[in-house]
Symmetry: C2
Subunit: 161 residues, 2 copies
Amino acid sequence: MSHATGRRGRRLPTRDELAVWRSFIETAERLRSELETRLQADGGVSGADYSVLLALWEARDHRLRSSTLAERIGWERSRLSHHLGRMERRGLIGREDCATDNRGAEVVLTSDGAAVFRAVSAPHLAGVRKLFVDAFTPEQLDSLGELIGTLASHLDENPTR
Amino acid sequence: MSHATGRRGRRLPTRDELAVWRSFIETAERLRSELETRLQADGGVSGADYSVLLALWEARDHRLRSSTLAERIGWERSRLSHHLGRMERRGLIGREDCATDNRGAEVVLTSDGAAVFRAVSAPHLAGVRKLFVDAFTPEQLDSLGELIGTLASHLDENPTR
DNA sequence: CTACTTTGATTGACACGTCAATGATGTATC
DNA sequence: GATACATCATTGACGTGTCAATCAAAGTAG
């Protein structure tokens, strides 16, 4: 029994555990940041812009209720509102009233927005392959996928207190 | 030979590869975000604040040159300057002139800053253990550490274009 | 010593994210 | 159909991050 094991699970991470943690979170952030830089260079869009463009691109008629869009990309409503305002000013999306709910708004991909998405999409995916996928053998990628799945399930079981 | 394999490595990620990628980046972000929420609740500090406090806590005399601090936590100078300004206003850190280089500034942890760090540190580490470490068996954590190491090395070999 | 370049740090402008408050519309209950 | 409550979306305030510009102090070359 370890001396560090106090009452009920109050044990802190060991040096090695902490090293894995730091490596994990820093590498993920680094990857996110590098891909974002490339997106910006290739088409002048941020990662946030890309999320919105992708969701609209995949939607029927390139159109989504604002709340649906927020849910689909996992954003808070107010964040989306602010961001849509900025994207609208740049001509990437448009906003229209919702036919079935007068409170609602529909977000529409403009042709400019679609053009930008088409321009950045392939380079972005190529970047994901080059920087992430190509780092691993197929077996390693499978393992990583399972480990991340395990982590995600664990988070599901540990809601924010 | 896959029809999707065009000339020289222009292959895009498959559906499965992309799923691992999305899972990876989203889960990392989720973890970061949950731990940040806890930090905020436990001691009113952001993840950024915590990085600065930790670096100063570990430094000799709880004091670092501004540029050294920036390098140690991997921030741009201007970001650090802005953030230090805000932390100074809150009384967490202080700034003094550097004795050996008149251009330089030294950042010092105040006693208030040290107290805040002591207050949030253990709960934060407990959160890391609970949300991250505890998700895995020791063997799984080792595997994950190695995979992340592989990824980090791959990124080192692929500098930003 | 003087001109040129580099480095340390800060600043201003602007894009971004979060939180709390708001207003307008929909839904349920009586 | 009037009251109460929930939902959709936006807004304002504020803290944060990035980029380019700035300025002072070192370092370097002649």
